[in-house]
Amino acid sequence: MTLTHYLVLSGILFSVGAATVLLRRNAIIAFMGVELMLNATNLSLVTFSRMHGELTGQVLAFFVMVVAAAEVVVGLAIIVAIFRTRRSASIDDVNLLKS
């Protein structure tokens, strides 16, 4: 096997995450899809880091994790707030942007 296999795995996980965002209506699951995409990216970064013998890639992955943590906190807070008012966790119910 080569390091390319990691990249392929990363691509698969990313695609599955993207498909999840598109296909699942539950906001929490869709959000998990986003997290999966971020993780797939991190895998790529780590692989590239190894490929180039540089730690910068890992540092970038680290920052991605921190930002993801912040994102999750805010995102889940939004989901909770919406659930409180609308009694629903479906993202299709939040379509007020439509005229």
Partner: protein
């Protein structure tokens, strides 16, 4: 005369007199009596401002302030006149510099007053007749609640008229031109609570605007070709600066302006309706002064017309047409003021005709203008006096036999009547007959012009004699046709108070003697020569004595016909049907109908179609754009489902497409 001059010198402080260095004609002067010349305009203008601004607080004394301002202007004018008269003939054109008015790049225009025989003639006429009419108005308007406002407007008119005649440039003249238009509008519509009067004021205003447009275009042409608007530049050999075509255009535009202001054909329709104003207004503005401003304009810009013979010919034609037009209309009118208005129109036709004859006619045009100012103002005041005594009755068929009851009015009116008829030695004989004589002088050797215009002028004199005699006989002679109790109200004619009769008497004296005094030894013509230039008299196509005899004969025929029909025989109270010509003349030869058909109707159609086009094309375009934007928006709105997942799908699809493109391009 010399004693008078020394009096003037005594009035002026010695110190100022010392600096009063007299400069050559046309050059700028300052100091001495000429430094108070701006008071000519300033006095009436200040009075008008005071009267208008103080409002009702000035009601008790406002009219006297108005009289004083006008009289003050007359005194200043008289002093200036005497001072000028004291100078040699070739130094009588003066320019009083007042300051820079417009300084825009290459265009520089000074505000100044041109003091020369022509403008001073007008100044004296306007202020003298104006003051008399002010005095008359004090009594005439006594019972009007708005007398103060009336005097404010009268003063405003005097100020504007003086600006008009004293201006040293066409632009400043235009200021006065508009000012008299405004004053005329305000005074015609003085009783604007009465709808037809307000409409008449508007009509006069609109007709004047048409003329003003001509003056504006003329000024534009001058600015384009001369680069200046002051008389000194434009009128100094205009042929050297512009082609004859340009000058013809300028001349025609100036003529249009004159037509509008002087009620000449084809802009004559407003004058009859302008009689809606109080009678003193009719006397001052619509007989003696403002309506003659057109003649002044033509004479003032004589240099332009002389360089454009075609324009000059048109001036003569216009004058001839109006002369006959006014005379015919005057024969049919039963309203005393409208008959006088038609007569004014006709007499100004004479003046315009004379002004179109070139230097030969200028002096006679102005001469007739002055005498006409006296006798026509006198007759208007007489008409006002008659109305005063007849409870504002204006229908001449309801007058008759008034001579016994209003002796002063009768006699003064008779002086004016004889003057306009041209009976020697009354004023009209010296001015009008000279115009007829000048019309018979062939211009540029064109015999036909002499015959045609001479005959028209001669014919006009006959018709004038007929309708003026008709007016006089219907009013003062024959049997009484007053309204009685059966008609609603009984009339008790009585003579007017002294404040009204004295101005009439003074004007009657002028009507009698002014012509003789001024024409003795060609005094008036000589006085005007610095402006009009010396003109060699050509020989009329007929001998002079024959022309005088012919004119008198024609006048006597007209008089006798009128005597037979309106003094000897009974005048019906209800106007008879009359001939087709009479019926046409009663409605001013269908001038309003023609205006309606030619101008008003098409104009209304044009505006309606413009409104339609505005709605259909402009609004349609704008609304169509808006609708299509809305439609496009509602079409695009469908893309906005509000579903986050749809948006995410769009993003991802875009990403995929982007990557595919990158891959394809790279490989």
């Amino acid at each position: 005369m010399h004693t008078l001059t020394s009096v003037v010198d005594g009035l002026v402080p010695a110190a100022t007199l010392a600096t009063d260095t007299l400069s050559p004609a046309g050059e700028t002067v300052s100091g001495g009596i000429f430094s108070v010349a701006p008071l000519l305009v300033g006095l009436p203008l200040a009075s008008a401002a005071i009267l208008l601004l103080l409002g009702r607080r000035a009601d008790t004394w406002g009219h006297w302030l108005g009289v004083l301002a006008s009289a003050g202007a007359f005194v200043v004018g008289l002093l200036t006149f005497l001072r000028i008269l004291d100078r040699p003939a070739d130094e009588r054109v003066l320019d009083v510099h007042l300051g820079t008015w417009i300084d825009a790049g290459a265009f520089h225009l000074d505000a100044g007053m041109r003091l020369d025989p022509l403008s001073l003639t007008f100044v004296l006429l306007v202020t003298f007749v104006g003051t008399l009419i002010h005095v008359y108005s004090v009594a005439y308007m006594e019972h009007d609640a708005d007398r103060r406002r009336f005097f404010a407007y009268l003063n405003l008119f005097v100020a504007a008229m003086l600006v008009l005649v004293l201006a040293n440039s066409f632009l400043l003249l235009f200021v006065g031109w508009e000012g008299v238009g405004l004053a005329s509008y305000l005074l015609i519509g003085f009783w604007n609570h009465h709808m037809p009067y307000a409409v008449a004021a508007k009509k006069a205003f609109v007709a004047n605007r048409v003329g003003d447009l001509g003056l504006l275009i003329a000024m534009g042409l001058m600015f384009a070709h001369f680069g200046a608007l002051d008389f000194a530049t434009v009128l100094d050999d205009p042929a050297a600066h512009a082609s004859e075509g340009t000058l013809t255009a300028i001349g025609l535009m100036l003529l249009l302006a004159a037509c509008g202001k002087s009620a000449q054909f084809p802009l004559q329709s407003w004058l009859g309706d302008a009689m809606a104003g109080p009678t003193p207004v009719s006397a001052l503005i619509h007989a003696a002064t403002m309506v003659t401003a057109g003649v002044y304009l033509i004479v003032r810009s004589g240099a332009v017309f002389e360089a454009a013979p075609d324009a000059q010919l048109v001036v003569v034609i216009i004058g001839a047409i109006t002369l006959l037009f006014g005379a015919i209309v005057g024969c049919a009118k039963d309203d005393i003021k409208k008959a006088l208005a038609a007569s004014t129109m006709s007499q100004i036709g004479y003046m315009v005709l004379a002004a179109g004859l070139g230097p030969v006619g200028y002096a006679f045009a102005i001469f007739h203008l002055v005498t006409h100012g006296f006798f026509k103002a006198g007759m208007f005041l007489g008409a006002g006096s008659v109305m005063h005594g007849m409870d504002d009755q204006v229908d001449m068929r309801r007058f008759g036999g008034l001579a016994r009851y209003m002796k002063i009015t009768w006699i003064t009116f008779m002086m004016g009547w004889l003057a306009i008829l041209g009976i020697p030695p009354f004023a009209g004989f010296f001015s009008k007959d000279k115009i007829i004589e000048a019309a018979f002088i062939p211009t540029d050797g064109a015999q036909w012009r002499a015959w045609v215009f001479g005959t028209v002028a001669l014919l006009g004199a006959g018709i004038t004699a007929f309708y003026m005699s008709r007016l006089f006989f219907m009013t003062f002679e024959g049997e009484r046709r007053w309204t009685t109790k059966r008609d609603g109200s009984e009339q008790h004619p009585h003579e007017s108070p002294a404040l009204m009769t004295w101005p009439m008497i003074i004007l009657a004296v002028g009507s009698v003697g002014l012509g003789l005094v001024l024409s003795l030894g060609g005094r008036f013509v000589g006085w005007l020569e610095p402006v009009t230039g010396h003109a060699e008299h050509g020989e009329p196509v007929l001998p002079e004595w024959l022309l005088i005899a012919l004119t008198l004969a024609v006048v006597v025929v007209g008089l006798v016909v009128a005597w037979r029909r309106y003094a000897v025989s009974t005048v019906p109270v209800v106007p008879p049907l009359g001939t087709a010509l009479t019926r046409a003349a009663r409605v001013d030869l269908y001038q309003d109908a023609v205006n309606d058909a030619v101008l008003v109707e098409p104009g209304q159609h044009l505006t309606r179609s413009l409104v339609y086009a505005d709605h259909a094309v402009v609004d349609g375009g704008v609304k169509g754009l808006a609708h299509s934007t809305v439609g496009l928006g509602s079409l695009l709105r469908r893309a906005q489902t509000g579903y986050v997942r749809t948006y995410a799908a769009t993003m991802l699809g875009g990403l995929v497409v982007l990557l595919v493109v990158v891959l394809v391009v790279q490989s």
